[in-house]
Symmetry: C3
């Protein structure tokens, strides 16, 4: 199979916001407890945080981490998680029918963020609560001192305000499963009033309103239009979520699904423009794609499990074991965000540890990297800079999920400071090697730095604590640069990163 | 007057849910305080509950008791009624402008229910409060332990959860008199979201949404359609209320009013079917007729009284003194529920003690049974089993309340286990004896067990503490069974129960 | 310039409600702290209230004072302001980004009202809170004792209830700047349900629903119609607000603006009548014009200031320095209320001390009267009684604000008890003296008592602590009464009060 792409120095999509490589940590299953927090673990620091996990998160260079939910937040009372730990109540999480010990709350998580080198993105509860409690949390986190909530933070041991910049106005409020689910109008109203109150406290806060939980939601995309009608002037981002599955074990269809993501982003961008025009506004709203991942390996079984269990604390839940096939889909997803750098300013892999996550820990034991850790790592490391438009000419196929899907998925990133170009390329073809020629217009002196490959002959190959390196990146020969053209040989079913100096 | 009825073994309406003989106890007047609870009373048990009242309630075999309101619940904070009694606040009840001492709360009332052998049906406050507080109460009552609210219950002395099955989502939210009165849409929304949260805790809970407070409400029956539109999938019962009066002292018209009840149930059943069809649902919703009674004897005077008094605690309020005429109406009401056994699964006489109630107590003194105690007792004892369709051919009359009202009101209950049939028959005719022939098709070996009569020559005759037996059931001769036919001689203005072995 | 007016004993508009001379004190800037309350000040009484300010307020004879907001109330938790002062939290006021020390709360302010001889008009928070908290405040203030909230008041040192009669249901809920801003429907609903709960406590309370914040609001006057549609039956007054400015320094246009006020009142009166007719109601609703004043001298600068400051406590804010020109506008405003005595039953100058106020204090120092203190004083003193219709024939001018504006503004008040007539007359003409003839039909024996003049050759003349008497009333010769006719000579740009005995 042959394919051709053109990248031109001046055809730029936009600067990639570092925060598209963000992540998400919810009080769910073992994400927090025995995930990032496990006092008594050999690797635990003085606060009980696992240093081995922090190290992996630091390796990923996660710019921002969304917290504490997710569905969890819609019935969460943040005050339960502050103050002396021995006085914190145990509460019930209705989303997953588990016990929440409240050992980790906002103060602990903020401290973890500092240790892990990631910015805190905080969600307020607009399910069972509203404006008044959101404002208390905001003052607790961000006010310098001398007021009730800020003084309580200081009393609890933290003098400096956390100065949280990014705030989610609830979570998936379009979902009937959400505690305190709202209609688009109801949500638009409460989001608007809460946003105004929060911006009255600090007009420079960045606020994220809930868009759709998936493009398959029956209310999509009217939800976006109706919500923005109510709150356009007072919010900065619209949140979208999407998870990917391969229940039917149909490889090519699975690999076609990121096309749905592409259209989702495009459609919502159009809705934003439509409301902006209606409002005669000069203000732009961007997309915060703050939950995305592959999620299906253990999903149905988990759904059965949690309906019947007796409110366990920190049970194994959503502990997806990712395989090599998922690497290719995750690669295409990340490429899609890069290609929409002009619209998507934040994106969060959901989640970071144990629950639908690239990192898994053993209780009391080891931590290891799943297959999808690696495309996420490579994108986070090498995908920062300017997103360049890619004019692609490649063979295509039709699938149930989408028609006219190219076998090759390419994103190009120009790091002007580092004087490099990164080409992220997935060859989806099940059995044909691809010869891809990339014409680097405007980069006459391009030279190959390296070609990194993720590949495994078995699509279902996985990593584990005992065999953590089954699927991982390796250096690859087979790409050359000639007269401003990159000639790449791409294995069938392969994820590739070609790095060039320019 | 002659009348004919046919009952056939195979023409069954449906199994009568025992809970149609339920009752209601509200924090209102002397229902709780000096009604069921009076520490220091000679008959009081160690918890302060009057044993004489418990005995009467046990005699009635009340399957379920609704609590704590009624209008009271819509401004009630349930947390005020738990914990050490000396620390409970005195609060103001806006519905009746009385003081609530909070000496009885959920723990006391649940204990009383156990003593009285009745199931607790608990209402949450959706007037001044919402989802969040409802969930706290639910966890307090039903969670096993290890969480804030359940541990508080244990600390307050009750280890085992109460496991309350039946929950009312507010009370009469269609009534402008209700604190936090809602539109149908507003109520449907809050009922739906509260129901979802409660079922997230326990999907087997049975939830009751508010229907109309009376068929004379201006919003009836659009209220039912609109509310169910919002919450059909998440509730199990629709609550209806109706009270009966004879302000005009028009005997035949008063006795015609249960026909309005019949049409009310029929209409709401139709609305339920209509929404079910709209929703393409397989789920059924049944009627909980959780407030019904005669109420007018002291109603207007009470309304004047409470507007002017200075917030007394446990004043005499709604202390209806029922007469013999009311027996006949109550008999027709109960017959109506039996004839709608396929739709009405719960019904609660309102109320049980002192306030619009079959039982009255003297403060520090005696308790006695009002006239209406007896038809309720007989129905509760002998009205359980299968409701059989009754094909009735009887003379009819026109009244202001309804046209074409039969002078005879019959309900037939087949107790398959006990091998008995109970015929509940009211002869409404003011001065003609009725000769009723009931053809018992399919019961060839039927034999008379007894004919019980409630009758008094004076329609206005009442019972009192000094004369508690003025109106009460008595055995009656005058019915015979011949060749599968029951021949009954029914006095004018009489309530009759004819029991047969089959 | 010549002008003519006729006043007739029997052509009465209606009794002027004393409360149209009410005022407003908000927790804003230095209105409360260092305004009315400054412990340690030489003039402070034992509670910390400044006696010098109380004296000025007593001189004004302020019948009613609205409290505690204003925008402040929409995020105010009244419980923060009760109990031992050392335990009260410091909170943040989002409206002006200041710190609220809560040293003054409801108990202190009610004590101040008693000291200052003014009735308390109390606002509940319908922004961030609702019905439930409103009811707590109501019980705290007005219940005699024996319940949680009333006992807390007693414990806090006040045995007798305050028995507050006048309650504002929120503040400017039509304003997008308001915390918890509502749509007209949302506000009408919450106002109605809160009103019903409050009247269930005490049906004789007088409740004020929010109308428009200004006649320039885009939702005006549909807001009024929609709000009243929801709550007409349960409220007693509709609140209107209006502030006046002269940014363009256009004298005649500034003086034409009270005509907008006149039309505002007229239009809202029409809306009230319209809803009354729709409801087939016998009940009347009156206007509470509970915020009015000139406000522009430091308004823009304040708006810049508060966006950038770091939450100061009691900063200088909205400290308008009023000039002589403002006296003329304030005179016309007060005249407008007098001429609408049949509709406007309450009006509150906004505010009373330091913030947009007739009185300014120095921190630790002197208090003085601004120019507008005087027309307010004269109207409050001499403007009580019956408002008489004035048939005016005067030269007119066109301005940007309104066309056909008379150069002369007249209001006539007949004090039947005191047997006096007061004519409040503003000559707006920039340079012509006016000869005004007032025909006093039905008052044959009228005699001049005095002609009081406020005038200064410089429209921009102001008072200050050092020069407090630059602009103040003075006795004037030049009016005579002849044969039931008053002949007045009115200086150009002058405020005049002609008092007659009749």
């Amino acid at each position: 199979m042959k394919a051709k792409a053109v990248v031109h120095k001046e055809f730029r999509i936009g600067r990639i916001d570092d925060r598209v490589y963000g992540a998400f940590l919810e009080h769910l299953g073992r994400a927090i407890y025995t995930g990032i927090y496990e006092p008594g673990h050999p690797a635990a620091d003085e606060h009980g945080f696992r240093r081995d996990v922090i190290e992996m998160v630091r390796e990923l260079n996660v710019p921002v981490t969304r917290y504490p939910g997710g569905n969890f937040v819609s019935a969460y009372n943040w005050e339960d998680g502050i103050g002396p730990k021995e006085r914190r109540p145990v509460t019930l999480d209705y989303a997953w029918r588990t016990k929440e010990t409240n050992e980790v709350g906002i103060d602990e998580f903020a401290a973890w963020c500092e240790a892990a080198g990631t910015e805190l993105m905080l969600a307020v509860n607009l399910g069972s609560r509203g404006l008044d409690e959101a404002r208390g949390l905001l003052e607790y986190c961000n006010h310098s001192g001398g007021s009730r909530w800020s003084d309580l933070r200081i009393k609890n041991g933290r003098r400096e305000p956390y100065d949280v910049r990014l705030w989610c106005l609830g979570n998936e409020m379009d979902g009937p499963w959400q505690v305190g689910h709202k209609t688009a109008y109801e949500y638009g109203r409460i989001a608007n009033e809460t946003a105004k109150a929060m911006k009255a406290f600090d007009p420079t806060l960045q606020l994220v309103a809930c868009g759709s939980s998936h493009s398959f939601m029956p209310t999509y995309p009217q939800w976006e239009a109706d919500v923005l009608d109510e709150c356009y002037d007072n919010v900065d981002y619209l949140s979208l979520h999407m998870y990917f599955e391969n229940y039917e074990d149909d490889y090519l269809n699975f690999l076609a699904k990121p096309v749905i993501l592409d259209r989702y982003i495009q459609t919502v961008s159009g809705v934003i423009d439509y409301v902006k025009a209606k409002k005669r506004s000069k203000k732009d709203i961007y997309i915060s794609f703050d939950e995305w991942n592959v999620w299906y390996h253990c999903r149905r079984q988990d759904n059965d499990n949690f309906k019947n269990w007796d409110w366990p604390a920190a049970p194994a839940l959503l502990e997806e074991v990712y395989n090599f096939e998922d690497v290719l889909v995750v690669g295409c997803i990340l490429n899609t965000f890069i290609r929409h750098a002009d619209r998507v300013r934040i994106a969060c892999i959901a989640q970071l540890v144990n629950a639908i996550a690239p990192i898994t820990t053993e209780r009391g034991g080891r931590a290891f990297r799943h297959t999808i850790y690696y495309p996420y790592l490579l994108a986070s490391r090498h995908g920062r800079g300017e997103s360049l438009a890619v004019a692609l000419d490649a063979p295509r196929y039709d699938a149930k999920a989408a028609d006219d899907v190219p076998y090759i998925d390419v994103a190009a990133v120009h790091d002007q400071a580092g004087k490099t170009i990164a080409l992220f390329v997935v060859n989806k073809h099940p059995d044909e090697e691809a010869e891809l020629t990339v014409d680097l217009a405007g980069f006459p002196s391009a030279r190959l730095i390296e070609h990194i490959l993720i590949h495994h002959p078995d699509l279902k190959a996985v990593n584990s604590a005992d065999a953590p390196d089954v699927v991982k990146p390796q250096l690859q020969n087979g790409s050359v640069v000639e007269e401003g053209r990159v000639l790449c040989r791409l294995k069938p079913r392969s994820y590739n990163l070609i790095r060039l100096s320019v």
